[in-house]
Amino acid sequence: MHLFDTLREGASFGAEELHLSDALIERWTSLYPDDPPDGRMPAGMIAVATMRAYSSLVVPRPPGNIHGSQRYEMLRRPAVGERLTTRIACAGKELKRDRRWVHFDTETVGEDGIPCFRGRMTILWAA
């Protein structure tokens, strides 16, 4: 279990791959029908890549964590069909007014290894 006291700043959790398949895009647009079918990843799917990496790689986690803030830097929208790789690392942690906050940095690259987007998520850690 990754507890607040044992998470280490700078620790890398590895990488997670995501195929932007037609089926995945169809699932997304079933939730958000207004996202344009322009052959590129809808911008909100940044969250699919980064949260899948977090969910898959930062495990096990205490139940009840809460997402506090999020920053995304979009560099380009990948093409549908592209395979993405997202890396995640612990960027730091802090205790403020008895609340445990943990920061994670994510970076997602395309098949050419060039970054598509980056993120920093801050989580209120439950234990």
């Binding site: 995945l24 699932r27 997304w28 079933s30 939730l31 958000y32 207004d34 996202d35 344009p36 322009d38 809808p42 911008a43 909100g44 969250a47 699919v48 949260m51 899948r52 977090y54 969910s55 898959s56 139940p63 009840g64 964590n65 809460i66 997402h67 506090g68 803030s69 999020q70 920053r71 995304y72 830097e73 979009m74 560099l75 380009r76 929208r77 920093r120």
Partner: protein
């Protein structure tokens, strides 16, 4: 602003009802099955006192609002920085929008619920000056 990008004062609002089916589908898409999103019994025993939606489920409405208002370039070259201020509960109707910042540096953005409460707030910057501070 990036050359060629539209400049307006207010972003076009985008609204969505966040029901349990949407929360469940978002959990599947993001592989985020935190019990506070998908387990009513667990969620009822937390300080939230019930299921809350993933914060990022609503954030896509901000991307949609920016795209509709400013065009594709404003989405593909942007820095979005937001805080989750209040929970979005199942059945809530949320509306995303924004207003051009007084200093002209991007837009203040927000998502409000049906009670007029701001649940998510932040800013979006475009182009060369978008580096996070």
């Amino acid at each position: 602003m990036t050359d060629g990008m539209t400049t307006i004062d207010r972003l076009t609002p985008v609204t969505k009802r966040i029901d349990r089916a949407a929360i469940r589908l978002y959990a599947e898409l993001t592989d985020d099955f935190n019990p506070i999103h998908v387990d009513p019994d667990f969620a009822a025993k937390t300080p939230m006192k019930g299921i809350i939606a993933h914060g990022l489920l609503s954030v896509n409405l901000l991307w949609q609002s920016v795209r509709r208002s400013l065009g594709e370039a404003a989405v593909s070259d942007a820095m979005l920085d937001i805080r989750f201020l209040r929970p979005v509960r199942e059945g809530d109707v949320v509306t995303a929008g924004g207003e051009r910042r007084a200093d002209g540096d991007g837009y203040d953005v927000w998502i409000d619920n049906q009670h007029g409460e701001t649940v998510i707030a932040g800013r979006i910057l475009h182009g060369p000056g978008r580096a996070a501070s």
